[in-house]
């Protein structure tokens, strides 16, 4: 299955060929979880503060993904 990944902050800087409009299309095995996706992206899970799955915030990385999901991945943040 394919999911569409949007990267933010330093994760985007670490992927210099990242396309803002398109995001990343990632091919995963069926029933893969957010954790599996992070492994496929090479992003260590302890660096991820928050994931937005189809418009909803989640911090549970064991959630299973399905075809066409949009996954936004955020590192830790703060400031103001």
């Amino acid at each position: 299955m394919h999911v569409n990944v949007k990267l933010y902050s330093i994760f985007r800087l670490e992927h210099p060929d990242y396309d803002v409009e398109e995001g990343l299309k990632v091919n995963l095995e069926e029933e893969s979880t957010i954790m599996d996706l992070l492994i496929a992206l090479g992003i260590e899970q302890q660096r991820v503060a928050m994931v937005n799955l189809n418009g909803k915030i989640t911090r549970d990385k064991s959630v299973a993904l399905k075809e066409g999901d949009v996954v936004q991945v955020f590192p830790f943040f703060g400031g103001g």
Binding site: Y8, I10, M50, I57, F74, P75, F76, F77, G78, G79
Partner: protein
């Protein structure tokens, strides 16, 4: 013993005096709260002689402690009627501490509408006639000051907004390149300085300060470890150096808390265009810069330099709050337009945050359309020119909104809400409601808090209280709150305690450290109470309790009884 300078603008006198032991125990925001409680009638008119303006440094000023050069400025605020402390980076705190001065108290009011400059140097402090500086904007003024007083001066100044007495007026502070891009922005402190007839304070270069360490080795070792802690933290060591505070645009948008069209939505379709990531990309192409220190020696360096499309400097210190409140909150998706507003505000001495929310209420009143960047620039120009509408806007969001008949006015205690909609970030909402400062993004922002879901009701009062104590403590140290992210690791708190022992002696434990924040909040609440504020004032604007915020459809549902449990501190 530290020194302070007392400037009597009525008599035109300046003299040095020692701080007593009680005042020595405080720094920055705490010192301001103590002096205002001791010396100013909370019921006073903020723009008359009886109010005082206090400019001071923190407890670790003058040491190599990272980010310890913050300058705190405080007074009774003309915007809110409450006590006010606004702190900023830049050169002022660093230079004042090198001059061996912990505080400047400006009191009285110059007679015959005369304007003055206070010059502080190694050999003393003196009031000089402001002459041709009167009427100058901050960029021209600071340039002329470097010519007249030397390239290395640090400057605090007011622009036209402060001279004219706008309740939305700042005191601008020069940055490491001499530009007036840092700002003690909130609460109209520029008008207080202007009401006294003080146009600027110029700080002359002097040698390194003589700091009486109790145990210098202990301080130095702990300080090195603390700096390593800041650099090892993913936010202060990685995200902020790379992308600055503007990194928050996409994040707060994803949380559904990005103010959009006068706080009518939490999600902006064009967030990506005004994001920190896009800002870094554009500035990379134009020769602007990320990763700039706003004060000497900062290990985070989250400031920036913004170039226009011709590659020329347009503004510096272009931050998240400015971008969100003048961008998405006005429906504006063009960074160059927002950067121009930032430049105009720094130059004329307007708080960019209060300005953004004021423009948005004007848009809601039909004075311009949401998304119309040219019209927004025109509204700022009206404030600068001093047209009838401009003068109304110059007194801030609640004044303008009320005059124009707007019902949805996003303020608490007269100060406009920062760039996090509290319905989708409820811990910050508790802080907005209960901070003695009014709605404030530096008083205890729960965007930092990863343990509580932002839209849940439970636990937010405690989250806000803990954060407010932590922030008020850092505001006593005179350190930037961004240098405190690493204190989530207790080892780093340990280093901070050793730094305090090394500097001041005695046993320091977390209780003693955070008592600084608790005492400060107590003193501030005491001042506000005597100024007539009650628990009824600890509330968000009505529409935020009833109007659902898309896309989370959340309302603010933490009632007065629960809010009364936040910051339960009292000092007499």
């Amino acid at each position: 013993m530290s020194k302070m300078i007392r400037v009597d603008m009525t008599k035109g006198t300046v003299h040095y005096e020692p701080l007593n032991q009680e005042l020595e125990a405080f720094g920055g925001r705490g010192l301001i709260a103590k002096i205002l409680n001791d010396e100013v009638d909370p019921g006073c008119n903020p723009l008359e002689a009886e109010n005082k303006l206090i400019i001071c440094t923190g407890l670790l000023a003058g040491t190599p402690a990272p980010t310890s050069g913050r300058i705190s400025i405080g007074s009774k605020s003309p915007l809110t009627g409450t006590i006010k402390e606004a702190n900023a980076g830049g050169m002022a705190g660093y230079m004042l501490s090198r001059l061996g001065v912990k505080a400047i108290i400006v009191e009285g009011k110059s007679t015959d509408d005369g304007w003055f400059i206070l010059k502080v140097g190694k050999d003393g402090a003196v009031l000089l006639p402001a002459g041709e500086y009167v009427g100058m904007r901050n960029y021209d003024l600071t340039e002329k000051m470097r010519t007249d007083f030397g390239e290395k001066v640090g400057v605090l100044s007011i622009g036209g907004a402060g001279e004219r007495g706008y309740w939305n007026s700042t005191i601008q502070i020069t940055d490491t390149r001499g530009r007036p891009s840092r700002s003690a922005a909130r609460g109209g402190l520029g008008a207080v300085m202007g009401s006294k007839g003080l146009k600027a304070v110029v700080l002359e270069e002097s040698g390194p300060p003589e700091i009486p360490y109790h145990e210098k080795e202990l301080f130095n070792t702990a300080n090195k470890n603390y700096i390593a802690g800041i650099k090892a933290h993913p936010v202060s060591g990685e995200a902020m150096p790379a992308l600055g505070t503007a990194v928050l645009i996409n994040i707060v948008n994803a949380l559904g808390a990005l103010p959009t069209n006068n706080f009518s939505a939490g999600n902006f379709g064009d967030a990506e265009k005004i994001s920190g990531e896009n800002l870094a990309k554009i500035q990379g192409e134009r020769g602007g810069k990320e990763n700039q220190p706003c004060q000497p020696g900062c290990p985070i360096s989250c400031s920036n330099i913004y170039h226009d499309e011709n590659g020329r400097h347009l503004t510096s210190g272009f931050e998240y709050e400015t971008i969100a409140l003048n961008g998405s909150n006005c429906g504006i998706n063009d960074l160059d337009t927002i950067a121009m507003i930032d430049r105009m505000c720094d130059d004329f001495g307007l708080d960019t945050m209060e300005t953004g929310t004021t423009i948005a209420v004007c848009m809601e009143a039909g004075k311009a359309k949401f998304g119309d960047g040219k019209a927004a620039l025109g509204l700022v120009e009206e404030m600068i020119e001093g047209t009838e509408l401009g003068k109304i806007m110059g007194n801030g969001t609640v004044f303008a909104g009320t005059k124009l008949g707007v019902k949805r006015i996003p303020v608490v205690k007269g100060q406009s809400i920062a760039a996090y909609d509290p319905r989708a970030l409820k811990g910050t909402g508790v802080t907005y409601a209960t901070s003695p400062m009014g709605a404030d993004h530096t008083a205890g922002n729960s965007i930092l808090e990863q343990s509580v879901t932002p839209t849940q009701k439970e636990g937010q009062v405690q989250v806000s209280t803990n954060l407010q104590v932590g922030m008020a403590t850092f505001d006593n140290l005179g350190m930037c709150i961004f240098s405190g992210f690493c204190t989530e690791d207790p080892a780093n708190i340990g280093y901070l305690l050793e730094m305090m022992s090394g500097r001041y002696g005695g046993e320091w434990d977390p209780d003693r450290l955070f008592t600084l924040g608790i005492k400060t909040l107590g003193l501030e609440k005491s001042f506000n109470s005597k100024a007539g504020f009650t628990e009824k004032d600890d509330a968000l604007p009505e529409f935020m309790y009833t109007e659902k915020l898309p896309p989370t459809d959340s309302v603010f549902d933490i009632g007065p009884e629960e809010l009364s449990g936040a910051v339960p501190f009292k000092e007499d």
